[in-house]
């Protein structure tokens, strides 16, 4: 067991570090919090990184990536963090969307989109969730209707779309056949976010900030070559995206780089550090965060040995939210109500929103129980019924 670099990794790290040392003056100031307010400068910086081969580390070389492994990805992230430099701005594009395009796209699509995506020249967003279909992604109702001339017309509403206000393109899941069971009538599209009929509306969160958007699609015309992967085969495409997302999540945790000391620091000199109950609370959040760090090392080792991350990787999301909640609560408890407004209160306010990102904790636990523990599934009432005949309850606007 070894946390040290192999000679190859050490050499790579050395090269990365040298490059960063030379170019760090070009990087914009690192923003605090999980989401950037204005990405322009960060995109330019992503382009600089891409030119140096430091974006898409695990992408195949033929698509502009570095063709290296997840450990090299972490080396790049760690070195950037160490130098206080931001990394890429478009995590979803590089982590989820690009890989879906190089897996399912036509060569024309790959040539058109992948380069600008890697360089941050064109921003992307992922148009999956809907007001009435969050955890139950296959329940989306956004309709894409094929026209006689091969084009499509799309109408519907998406929600929880990160970065949509800055995106040039989107990857859109829509229903193309409502008369078959829900998983079978879906198709994935690439959509121009500036097309007529696309409206983006920021969605304000608990804290008052708007990190997500609603996207309204009103009879938007898509060209025939907007289809990504097979028509009516969009569910499989989406599942691939989510698999890449799990990989990307791992890197995101690493980039977040939370350690227990960070949370204890603002209260370290209070007399409450001698309070037995406070100390047990610190122990709780510390074990979650330490575990996450070593989980990442173990997973990276497994990935570098050729394993694929299973749904249990999602349990890390529970851990990080638990720890974030526990830490922000503890700090505000100790600093008093005035700390509710400020960095720690903001963190507390971000946590409830994260809880349901990528499916609720309950769905995640069910998936892990079914797929990892092999427990019998719940009876499903929605599997073999045409989508158009499903009970869906009242649609609830966001």
């Amino acid at each position: 067991m070894d946390l040290k670099d192999t000679p190859d990794q050490a050499a790579y790290r050395q090269r990365v570090r040298a490059w960063i040392e030379e170019h760090r003056h070009e990087a914009p100031e690192l923003s605090s919090g999980l989401h950037a307010a204005d990405p322009t400068a960060f995109r330019t910086w992503q382009g600089t990184l891409a030119d140096a081969g430091l974006v898409g580390i695990t992408w195949p070389k033929e698509f502009g990536g570095a063709g290296l492994g997840p450990i090299e990805q972490v080396i790049v992230s760690t070195e950037l963090r160490r130098a206080g430099c931001p990394g890429i701005v478009d995590h979803i594009a590089v982590g989820n969307i690009g890989p879906t395009i190089f897996t399912y796209g036509s060569s024309a699509q790959q040539e058109r989109y992948l380069g600008p995506l890697l360089h941050g020249d064109e921003g992307w967003c992922q148009l999956f969730s809907e007001p009435a279909a969050g955890s139950d992604l296959a329940g989306i109702t956004t309709r894409a209707v094929a026209q006689d001339d091969g084009t499509w017309r799309v109408t519907g509403q998406k929600v929880w779309t990160t970065m949509a206000q800055f995106a040039d393109y989107g990857m859109l899941l829509a229903r193309t056949d409502p008369d078959v069971p829900k998983h079978r009538g879906l198709t994935m599209f690439l959509i121009d976010m500036r097309a007529a009929g696309v409206t983006v509306r920021p969605l304000r969160q608990i804290s008052g900030a708007a990190h997500f958007n609603e996207v309204f699609l009103d009879d938007v015309e898509l060209p025939a070559d907007a289809v990504l992967g097979p028509v009516d085969g969009g569910w499989g495409v989406a599942m691939t995206t989510l698999m890449f997302e799990r990989l990307a999540l791992l890197a995101a945790f690493e980039e977040l780089g939370w350690s227990a000391e960070d949370f204890v620091e603002p209260v370290a000199d209070l007399p409450a550090m001698g309070d037995a109950h406070v100390r047990q609370r610190i122990a709780e959040l510390t074990t979650e965060l330490l575990s996450l760090r070593y989980s990442a090392y173990r997973t990276l080792t497994a990935l570098s040995r050729g394993d694929v991350p299973g749904p249990e990787a999602g349990l890390g999301k529970i851990a990080i939210i638990n720890a974030g909640v526990q830490a922000s609560e503890l700090i505000v408890d100790l600093l008093g109500p005035a700390a509710i407004d400020g960095r720690w209160g903001d963190l507390a306010m971000e946590m409830p929103g994260l809880r349901s990102g990528g499916g609720t904790e309950e769905i995640l636990r069910t998936t892990v129980g079914d797929r990892v523990l092999g427990l019998p599934p719940e009876p499903r009432v929605d599997k073999d019924v045409p989508f158009s005949e499903l009970t869906t309850g009242k649609a609830v606007a966001a």
């Binding site: 929880w160 608990i206 109950h277 349901s356 609720t360 309850g393 609830v396």
Partner: protein, 384 residues
């Protein structure tokens, strides 16, 4: 034995619920976060007669008890109403008991009618390990802030930081250390020279906090001993517990309604055990808190020796319940539950702030333990 609401109490509760449902207090709670003035609900309180709730009839009040005030506060919590009633009830409870003083008796009718509003700076009674009476606010170097000081002439100096319900009060009952070192209660007029209240919002705009600064401010010393001051503190605990109960009930109602109507995977999400059991856990905590609120209300009037235990227990269970309930309400709603437009986060904000006021939930728990340990030790000693 008769351990339920009287008909009068049911009427009081139902009237409160009706009156508050006519006000758009929840929309106001949201807009106030963006700087819009908070809806004035004091006039509703005054019209409904809540201002005189714990003031004797001879002084123009209703002559009711702490439990009745708790019933109203549950409804205030349910509708996120920021009336300032908690401060008014604790202050007038103490003033009412000190009404043999003519100067006090004189102002009670206006307070009972709601023409003037009272508040009180509640001070923490000593615990086993404390040195004496303190303010709730922690001091950076450790320990807690000390009380304002009164000189021999009754002039008050000192600061009470971030105390709830102070903004907007016309008179404030200040707990201060007298010239002899004894703790006492002093009535100040907020319009008087040397009295300044600065309002600040932290997290929940329906409950603005106030920092009271006193610079040689003239006051009327009140006839109140440490028992009266402790009773005021525990009354504050009991009222916050009742409010938390209302918050729990409101979020349960929101959660249940949504769980019935929202579908996932072809059936209502409330049919899934994971969702259902979380909502039942809110219900269980509501029962827990409500039982303890009954205990607190009963003890306040009929068993004062148990009031510290009862009020602290209710507060402890209530704030923990509200924390769980508001968090769960957001979670049951999925993403929509964490948006600005939704009501769930407003209740969550209330729970986040309230559980940290007036000693906070851990202080309440510590006091519960302290009471039980004392009883157990007395038993051991009696058996020896």
């Amino acid at each position: 034995m008769n351990f339920g609401l009287s008909e009068e109490q049911e009427l009081l509760r139902d009237t409160a619920r009706d009156a508050l449902e006519r006000l758009d207090t929840i929309a106001s709670a949201r807009e106030a976060l963006d700087g819009v003035d908070l809806l004035d609900s004091w006039s509703t309180a005054a019209e409904a007669g809540w201002a005189g709730l714990v003031i004797d009839e001879e002084h123009g009040g209703a002559g009711l008890g702490v439990f009745d005030a708790m019933l109203v506060h549950e409804e205030l919590g349910r509708r996120l109403t920021g009336t300032g009633l908690l401060g008014h009830v604790t202050a007038t409870g103490l003033l009412n008991a000190a009404a043999q003083d003519e100067r006090v008796a004189t102002i009670l009718p206006a307070l009972a009618a709601g023409e003037r509003r009272a508040a009180m700076t509640l001070a923490r009674p000593p615990r086993d390990d404390d040195e004496g009476w303190t303010l709730d606010a922690p001091v950076p170097g450790g320990g807690r802030a000390s009380l304002p000081a009164a000189d021999a002439g009754g002039a008050l100096s000192g600061t009470v930081a971030l105390h709830p319900e102070l903004p907007g009060a016309d008179v404030v009952v200040v707990v201060a250390t007298g010239p002899s070192g004894r703790v006492g209660a002093y009535l100040v007029d907020t319009a008087a020279p040397g009295v300044q209240i600065t309002e600040v919002v932290h997290g929940d705009a329906t409950r603005p906090l106030g920092t009271l600064e006193l610079r040689q401010a003239a006051s009327t010393p009140l006839q109140a001993d440490e028992g009266d001051l402790a009773r005021a503190w525990y009354t504050g605990q009991a009222l916050l517990a009742a409010e938390a109960l209302g918050v729990c009930q409101a979020t349960l109602d929101l959660g249940v309604a949504y769980a019935k109507e929202r579908h996932a995977f072809g059936r209502p999400i409330g049919s899934y055990q994971a969702v259902k059991h979380q909502l039942v856990e809110i219900l269980r905590r509501i029962d827990l808190t409500r039982n303890l609120c009954f205990f607190a209300g009963y003890a306040a009037d009929s068993s004062p020796g148990e009031f510290a235990l009862a009020a602290s227990s209710a507060r402890f269970a209530g704030e923990q319940g509200a924390d769980y309930a508001t968090r769960t309400c957001i979670a049951v709603h999925g993403g929509i539950g964490s948006t600005w437009e939704h009501d769930a986060p407003l209740f969550w904000r209330r729970a986040q702030l309230s559980r940290r006021l007036l000693g906070g939930v851990e202080d309440a728990g510590d006091r519960v333990a302290g009471e039980i340990i004392t009883t157990a030790r007395d038993r051991v000693a009696a058996a020896a």
